[in-house]
């Protein structure tokens, strides 16, 4: 759970810390956790299998009409699982300071 607006007192919380609304991970900007490397994707090699989307533990893979379109770096925590899962070698982890196109999408 992460703060949205006014923080609740302990008496006001759901029993067992259960989160009853869906999509709550959108509110948590895990991009700040990234240390050192970030993913980029080579559009020429991407076969659009979306295994990266399936494996990504955060809502960091941007899609448009079920097509991979790069990264939401505000949510990508740099774990590199997408690069491991990618069967076509399209995804690579590069140094954080490297300048890359928007969403790390290399045409």
């Amino acid at each position: 759970m992460m703060a949205k607006g006014k923080l609740k007192a302990w008496e006001e919380l759901e029993v067992g810390a259960v989160v009853l609304e869906g999509g709550s991970t959108q509110a948590i900007l895990t991009g700040g956790w990234r240390t050192g490397k970030k993913p980029i994707v080579d559009a020429q090699k991407c076969v659009n299998c979306l295994l990266c989307w399936i494996h990504c533990p955060e809502p960091a893979i941007v899609t448009e009409k079920a097509q991979m379109r790069g990264y939401d770096y505000a949510h990508c925590k740099g774990c590199g699982i997408c690069a491991e899962a990618c069967p076509s070698g399209a995804i690579s982890m590069v140094p954080e300071e490297r300048l890359v196109p928007k969403r790390g999408w290399i045409e």
């Binding site: 923080l7 008496e11 919380l13 029993v15 067992g16 989160v19 869906g22 709550s24």
Partner: protein, 403 residues
Amino acid sequence: MTVAMKQKQLLTGAEAVAQAWRQIDPDVVPVYPITPQTPIITTFSEMVAEGLASTEIINVESEHSAMSAAVGAASAGARVATATSSQGLALMLEICYIAASLRLPILMNVGARALSGPINIHCDHSDAYMARDAGWVQIFTENAQEAYDYTLMAQRLAEHDRVRLPVMVMLDGFTTTHSADVAEILPDDLARQFIGEYEPPFSLLTQVATIGPFDMPDYYFEHRRAQQHALEQVREAFEQIQRMFKEKSERPYEGPFEAYQMDDARTALVVMGSAAGTAKAVVDMLRREGRRVGLIKLWLFRPFPRAAIARVLGYVDSVAVFDRGLSYGSFGPLYLEVTSALYSRVWGVENSRRPKLANIIYGLGGRDLRPDQIRKAFDDLEAGRLRADQLYYAGLREEGDQR
């Protein structure tokens, strides 16, 4: 209400617990065998195979998986029971903390056993003490009858709407799990009336939700504080459920402990589990000699009934706390609770005193506690020979003693 058909049976503690499970008829029982708990789950598995219970038994690959499956099933709104001992409890402990923090009403029987090493399969309370901070309710029982009764009561307590916590019911390994004892099993209809239907307040099967979320420092503290609140609610709910159980069983359980011959006692023992039976026999013997001795047999260890303990012990001269386990580098865990309860409350109780206290460690790894050792504790208490700031060991061989 009168109990028409009392069913006295010769049962081991493990069989008595299995009878309670049969009457509860849990939806899911994830199990992994470990001595001395195993006869609980094998007896119950036979009952399920014979169609006496409709439980889904999951034979998992470890205790870690057993508790994980219990968490999953309970999150789906199922009634869940499991059992373990010693290293099994140690292995599942990670998930025990999670079960409590998710506030899932899981029932678990623990055949209390020593922890390795050296490896030892016999009784002490080290495993239960290890789990004392996991956030579970912890109940210790003396014999097969109590193991049966408190297993039924634990199911209701876990589901109590102001509690909603997992509950651990200890029965002493071998001494209680494997020894045949006369126990009275409630008729099935009465037991089932007592247990009632379970209306889960929440089910993953019907509701979109995140179970077991991540907390940043901005919320973890508040969630933990809420857990403490839930445990604090248990003392009242425990007594309420004892009263409900008394209506069905006519067995007069009242309060967090049994106070045996305490009304005019000057010296007292505090003990948990099967050793209470031996200790009561010694109290009876000394009473016949005219000595004012008594016994507190504690059922409810978590949450600790500190006010009730301070009230009952705040008027005696001296107390020996018997611990079947040790917080290495400190004292026995029960002793620490009793001293803390008396220190924090005794000055607020009218005319009460702070009794002299002593901690006696006994029975590690299944060593018997003999009547003469309990008698010696009373003798030493009355003669003022015991100090509060050092440990005593009953039945331990020491250099220079008579062997």
